[in-house]
């Protein structure tokens, strides 16, 4: 009961934070308010709220504040958001597109809640088994809880020398997820039931957003219900709900959110929507280190599609190919700079000893096939990949769709080649990474498949009625 109340309050807190900040920023910048339907408003409120929460706590960390002060500041900000949202609502009548209660929406939401109930039934009694949850994310939140949010984390060799710092083996990880977990520790030490609740809420709202988007593409209710079924019956994604507290699923959520916002922006190019995309892109590196990779892939895809026409794109591609071939043939560059070696050769890359990667081919095909194909219905999804590729290449798409296609293709190609060519192979072979990295792209992929299915059904429907 306490857990249920906490989850409700915590969700409400994120939503108020997200909606309040959105209204305030729009007012401050003097741009148009983009009214959404209620479910979209709440969902985007929740997801922006998570970002705002992480950003503010990150800032408060710099000030070296005490926890009590941090909580009071957060409470004040929350109150301000609630009051401001209330004020704007009263003043302008409404902040969302008023829609009548829609039977289809009621059915979709019921299906999502039912599926969440099934997840709770499986996971409720299970303790916090997810290893990284308690060794990394919850552990750090617990250290903040006891020693203050601004405490300094170090690696073992430094910890032995320094007096005031705490030891945390994942001190180089971004703080995002731990900051979201941090307030939970004021309620209970394990955080597991609350994590389960929060993950189900986040995932549920994501599925709802996907359904709403498909509805906009004129997908029939059955297709949307099928999407709900797929999202809650893909084993590995479900396992990340049953053992909540890993960052991968949250990463997956934000990757898809960027795609969805891009489609929104394509429909209605308003500055308010552009801000939302930037906000979600900002969240990526705050969740996990791979976030930087996804961010770069996204920025590249976006720039490549949005800024250049086909002829320019071909030019860029050929220049890139030429540079690559030249680099390959000449054996790259290696300089000894005063700051350290700068080596970019086909054997290794060393950027002033700050970033280092060596290349060596490892055959990870077995692990890849086992990972992609032998995990129940997950495998069925990959059977859709050839159809998706044909659809991507052979049909005409708007720019937002092109960006999402290029992003997905590049990201998948990138991780697979990283597993084949770099020491990351060992994480593919022991299955600690391959599925979890692919998992981060999974909702994006499922959404693309369903867009394809919807277009196909609509096209067939319109041609048969002609």
């Amino acid at each position: 009961m306490k857990t249920l109340f906490f989850i409700f309050a915590y969700t409400l807190y994120f939503m108020s934070l997200g909606i309040g900040f959105r209204l305030a920023v729009i007012k401050f910048m003097g741009i148009d308010l983009h009214k959404r339907r209620l479910s979209n408003l709440l969902a985007h409120g929740l997801f922006t709220g998570l970002l705002i929460h992480v950003l503010i706590l990150n800032l408060l960390q710099l000030s070296g504040s005490h926890n009590a002060l941090v909580l009071s500041v957060m409470a004040l900000i929350f109150l301000a958001c609630v009051i401001y949202t209330f004020y704007v609502t009263v003043k302008s009548g409404t902040i969302h597109n008023s829609t009548r209660i829609n039977h289809q929406q009621v059915i979709t939401i019921t299906a999502i809640m039912l599926a969440s109930g099934v997840m709770i039934y499986n996971s409720y009694y299970v303790p916090n088994l997810a290893w990284d949850t308690w060794t990394v994310w919850v552990a750090r939140a617990k250290q903040w809880y006891f020693h203050g949010l601004s405490v300094n984390f170090v690696q073992p060799h430094e910890w032995l020398k320094l007096n005031e710092s705490l030891l945390n083996l994942s001190s180089h990880y971004p703080d995002g997820l731990s900051l979201i977990i941090y307030p939970m520790l004021y309620v209970s030490d394990t955080a597991k039931p609350m994590l389960l609740g929060l993950y189900l809420v986040i995932y549920g709202f994501l599925v709802l957003l996907m359904c709403n988007r498909l509805q906009k593409l004129q997908a029939p209710l059955t297709t949307r219900l099928f999407l709900v079924l797929v999202m809650y019956s893909t084993p590995l994604m479900v396992n990340h709900l049953l053992l909540p507290g890993y960052a991968d699923l949250i990463m997956a959520v934000y990757i898809l959110l960027i795609m969805l916002s891009l489609l929104d922006y394509n429909d209605m190019p308003k500055p308010a929507l552009r801000l939302v995309i930037i906000a979600y892109a900002l969240m990526l590196p705050m969740i996990k280190l791979e976030g930087w990779v996804w961010l770069m892939v996204f920025v590249f895809s976006h720039t490549f599609i949005m800024w250049f026409n086909i002829r320019q794109r071909l030019l860029i591609l050929s220049v890139m190919a030429a540079v690559f071939v030249l680099w390959w043939l000449t054996g790259g560059i290696s300089w000894d700079t005063p700051f350290g070696p700068l080596i970019i050769t086909p054997q290794e890359i060393n950027l002033l000893n700050k970033a280092y990667v060596s290349f060596a081919f490892t055959d990870v095909s077995g692990a890849l096939i086992a990972g992609l194909l032998w995990q129940f219905n997950w495998s069925l999804l990959w059977l859709g990949l050839p159809f998706l590729v044909v659809y991507m290449v052979a049909f005409k798409h708007n720019k937002a769709q092109q960006v999402s296609h290029l992003f997905f293709g590049l990201a998948l190609a990138l991780i697979i080649s990283l597993f084949y060519l770099t020491p990351a192979a060992k994480y593919a072979l022991d299955f600690t990474a391959i599925n979890r990295v692919i998992l981060q792209l999974m909702p994006c992929y499922i959404f693309l498949l369903f867009s394809l299915l919807t277009v196909f059904i609509n096209k067939a429907g319109s041609s048969s009625s002609d």
Binding site: P127, N239, F376, R436, A460
Partner: protein, 381 residues
């Protein structure tokens, strides 16, 4: 209208045909003129008396102190490689264990290799022995290895027993392939620490067959759809149908897993397992001895000695209200300046160091041994 009927009829017929072709058994070449009879090994195990007994038509195995059953080959009339199946009937308590069939394989001119195959976790465990087993001439040291499924560490008193009505080696004419595939598809995979990374890699032979059927069916369906052009809803219905078909094994396991979890974690404890509960109590004891239970401080360091493993990581987690960490070697603790306030916790087997080091007076003057038990040793300097 009839285009749709033809679409469905063709789809179903061709899918069934695919299923038939995929599941058809490859018959093993046999030199014998008369048919083989199954080898019943139910009572051939070499087990200490009293641990394996029969009652109510079931053979019970007491798991305490047992993790493998040896199968003496000389009692058998034929080499096991002529039998492609191992069948465990009425396998009770299959949720509690992981079963493996192991053997030593000798091939000509090569060193012996070890054979190990995971057996299906199902009330009727029907296992197709893999090609390595079937091709070999010389098998020795055949065993049934039992690993208790207590990776999660919540064991109960009833967990120490499993049972079956029979264990038999069979040839392919004695096993129905439908039964065999069903047993494989509906085999139980409990939640484990690895669940976050991978979903079920054991026993996927049956699923691979199912997936082949589904993939071919999907292809047939798309071709039929393009040829006959029924309404799009029919294609959609087919896709949903195939998804549901692929979901059956997963759904079955999900329900099973839910019941298993509910039973196993019934007390809804915040601890991960029994070991964790003990570690929490240990952390509590240590904090009492340090005397800083109420006021956590960053100045006092607590170092847990040794590499990262479950016990040390959990103890560390329970002591995070202090400035706690896991450190690889005790020297780095001993080399710290004498004025700094710090504690060292040594868990087995490192707690033995406490006894040996106490004898050297040099270290004894600054190091103060607070507690030394079989479970841990706590030092202060």
């Amino acid at each position: 209208m009839h285009r749709q009927i033809i679409y469905w009829i063709l789809f179903i017929v061709m899918s069934l045909l695919t299923a038939f072709i995929v599941t058809r058994q490859q018959s093993v070449q046999s030199d014998l003129s008369q048919p083989l009879s199954p080898i019943n090994v139910t009572t051939s195990f070499e087990v200490l008396p009293g641990l394996y007994y029969q009652s109510n038509g079931l053979f019970h195995l007491d798991l305490s102190g047992i993790n493998h059953l040896s199968l003496p080959l000389k009692k058998w009339p034929l080499t096991p490689s002529q039998y492609a199946y191992l069948v465990i009937k009425d396998f009770h308590g299959y949720q509690r264990v992981h079963l493996y069939l192991t053997a030593e394989i000798e091939s000509e001119g090569q060193a012996t290799t070890s054979y190990r195959q995971k057996l299906v976790n199902n009330a009727n465990s029907i296992n197709t022995l893999d090609s390595v087993w079937l091709k070999t001439e010389n098998l020795s040291d055949v065993r049934l290895v039992i690993e208790k499924n207590d990776a999660l560490g919540f064991s109960q008193s009833t967990d120490n027993q499993i049972g079956w009505s029979s264990i038999q080696f069979m040839s392919d004419d004695m096993v129905s392939s439908t039964q065999q595939i069903t047993a494989g598809l509906l085999s139980f995979n409990p939640l484990s620490y690895a669940s976050i990374n991978i979903y079920n890699l054991d026993n996927n032979a049956s699923f691979q067959k199912l997936l082949t059927v589904i993939a071919v069916s999907l292809f047939i369906m798309v071709v039929l759809y393009l040829m006959l052009k029924p309404k799009a809803g029919h294609l959609m219905a087919g896709v949903v149908l195939l998804w549901l078909l692929a979901s059956i094994p997963y759904g079955f396991n999900f329900i099973h897993q839910s019941q298993f979890n509910e039973q196993r974690f019934a007390e809804n404890s915040p601890f991960l397992n029994q070991t964790d509960r003990l570690l929490f109590a240990m952390a509590d004891e240590i904090q009492n001895m340090i005397g800083q239970h109420a006021t956590p401080t960053k100045e006092t360091k607590i170092m847990i000695m040794g590499g990262d493993d479950f016990s040390k990581k959990r103890l560390n987690f329970h002591l995070l209200n202090h400035n706690t960490g896991i450190i690889g070697d005790i020297e780095s603790w001993q080399q710290r300046p004498a004025e700094s306030d710090s504690y060292a916790i040594l868990l087995p087997p490192f707690n033995e160091l406490c006894d040996t080091e106490a004898t050297t007076p040099a270290t004894n003057s600054i190091e103060n041994r607070l507690k030394n038990t079989t479970r841990y040793c706590l030092k202060h300097r």
